[in-house]
Symmetry: C2
Subunit: 355 residues, 2 copies
């Protein structure tokens, strides 16, 4: 499966690097930011999900490549804007988009009335905006590469009506929750938010792959819906693993980002569960570990103890395992072929990865 993941990633990288959409963007450093994240590589999980779901239902994964690139670029524009919002200076071990642009401004302009940071943020907003258009355009290009005009339009609409609306709503809620405060948010709300923020794009990947295979525009057909459920369910498991790794991950593998959810006071499901279970004294201790300037191993250890003691750590592991099993059960009703095997292994991989 991991080999096949690499094969898929190589095809995706080739299309991204050779696409001429960014070519006429000015100024040049803005063009550079537009191609930066999409060109950084990564596992290309979403393209793999999309093309494999196409293969699962007997479609030609080759026909699904442009839509697969589209979802990858789509994912990347959301990262550029999320990094501004979360004030994250690092992305995949390199400076984030706005951090790079801030540095560029410092090195190149003298008349920075509002400061290099504002320049960095402003141009990163514009870079993400262009990437959003690039993603929409890549999806439309599928019509030149073997997809029918009807399916091309249906997928393009579904990307906006499902993904844009739900993913951005999820991102907004994720930012809003800490401002409402722990006491005023329920773990049910956090779970619902995850289905929007993480689930919507993954659901779309599966639906798109299925729709291409079946040459269908009916997203209400049971087959497409079920495959969407698989992806969305596996996606939440993936996200819960992410939350778990954010506290219980290996320091040498996770590096700086260990504790970053705590630093940003993100209301993860694990935090909600711990808060709901602990007594007043321990609740207070937990609250005091949020929003700190830095997270030493001692602080992380203290947090780990509270998460374990409250049962939240175990709950999250079990919940992730349970969701992964649920996802694989859905998968079992689909044809037994190599794609099904890869999708099943991918699901296991997502909830057991240690970085």
């Amino acid at each position: 499966m991991l080999n096949e993941l690499k094969n898929t990633a190589a095809k995706i990288n080739e299309i991204i690097l050779n696409d001429d959409f960014p070519s006429i963007i000015e100024p040049k450093y803005l063009r550079g930011t537009v191609i930066d994240y999409p060109g950084r590589g990564g596992k290309r999980l979403r393209p793999a999900l999309l093309t494999w779901c196409c293969g699962l239902l007997g479609g030609d994964p080759q026909k699904a490549l442009y839509p697969a690139v589209a979802v990858e670029i789509y994912h990347n524009w959301t990262l550029v804007h999320d990094d501004i919002i979360d004030d994250d200076d690092v992305r995949r071990g390199l400076p984030s988009a706005h951090a790079s642009l801030t540095k560029y401004a410092r090195d190149n302009f003298r008349n920075l009335r509002f400061g290099a940071e504002k320049f960095g943020r402003d141009f990163a907003i514009l870079a993400g905006d262009i990437q959003q258009g690039w993603a929409a355009n890549m999806m439309l290009k599928a019509a030149d590469n073997g997809m029918s005009p009807e399916v091309t339009i249906a997928l393009s609409r579904r990307m906006q009506e499902l993904v844009t609306r739900e993913l951005i709503s999820g991102e907004a809620l994720d930012v809003e929750f800490p401002m409402r405060g722990l006491k005023n948010v329920t773990s049910r709300e956090v779970l619902d938010m995850l289905y929007l923020k993480t689930g919507a794009l993954l659901r779309f990947c599966a639906e798109a792959g299925a729709a291409i295979a079946l040459d269908s525009t009916d997203f209400n057909s049971p087959e497409i819906r079920r495959l969407g459920d698989f992806a969305s369910t596996a996606g939440i498991a993936f996200q819960l693993r992410d939350d778990w790794l954010g506290v219980f991950g290996n320091f040498s593998k996770f590096g700086k980002s260990l504790g970053s959810d705590l630093a940003e006071e993100k209301l993860t499901l694990m935090l909600m569960k711990a808060y709901e279970s602990l007594d007043a004294d321990k609740k207070y201790k937990l609250m005091n570990l949020l929003g700190l300037e830095s997270y030493t191993m001692d602080v992380i250890e203290e947090a780990r103890e509270l998460f374990i003691m409250s049962g939240a750590e175990k709950y999250i592991r079990q919940k992730a395992d349970h969701l992964a099993e649920e996802a694989k059960t859905i998968l079992e009703k689909f044809p037994d072929n190599e794609y099904r095997g890869w999708l099943s292994e991918l699901t296991d991989y997502l909830v057991h990865r240690d970085k």
Copy 2:
């Protein structure tokens, strides 16, 4: 013509207000921001241009309504992000998107670690992002309303390949120029920037109307190109009038925004021309009028004097008139019908309006 403009605006408003795209956006105040600017009305110049260009070439303007709404929503998302970048707190006499959201945060959240202003900006970024998707979706909906799938795809692609790339590049250059400083930018570069920032979307409106009328996907056909040239040329004239009004407009009609280009140190063509013509002493005086905290009538008068003395004021008026004439000359080669009359009157109106 002004009556017909109102008729077109009414049809556009009806589609915008009844579209269900924003319906499932959460939280509710984000949904409110998404529908805010598009619902504020305005002249709806871009939809008029698009539908009239369709009528000009014998098409049914009714068939062009969804694309016309799409360009209007597209225009609005760029305003939301521009207002963040320019730090503008007012839009059409009401609080700008990020200013409204800042107020909402102040009134509703207690735990604003990064302040209400950051919340306002972050959520306005997300609102503009959703609007960009809404615009793309509205264009695709044309396929349900009488447009062929092929033309729908072609227009959707053209919107990204022409407008997204050029308009955002233009916006980026407009923000970059003041940071490079007056001495390091030429008036040629400023004019080129206007063709990107203002010209691209207007060109697209004309092209789209023509493509719908001709049921064509060939944006290189002479007829579509010429009509695009008309709109782009008229658009620059419109923009130059805007720059002129920003200094020479009537205070009671233009209100607070008089002098705002000077306050933001925008490198307008008028400023470039003045700077290039004045002697060192007057250059210095002009520079001292940029980036002030407030603009009293005395300061505005001082600026007016320098613009007149340098010949820049006259140059801009003549340039706008010249471009308007050029646009109308292009128009004369098209069929003589009521739409041509309206488009010609619209061109005159744009360069002679006093607000």
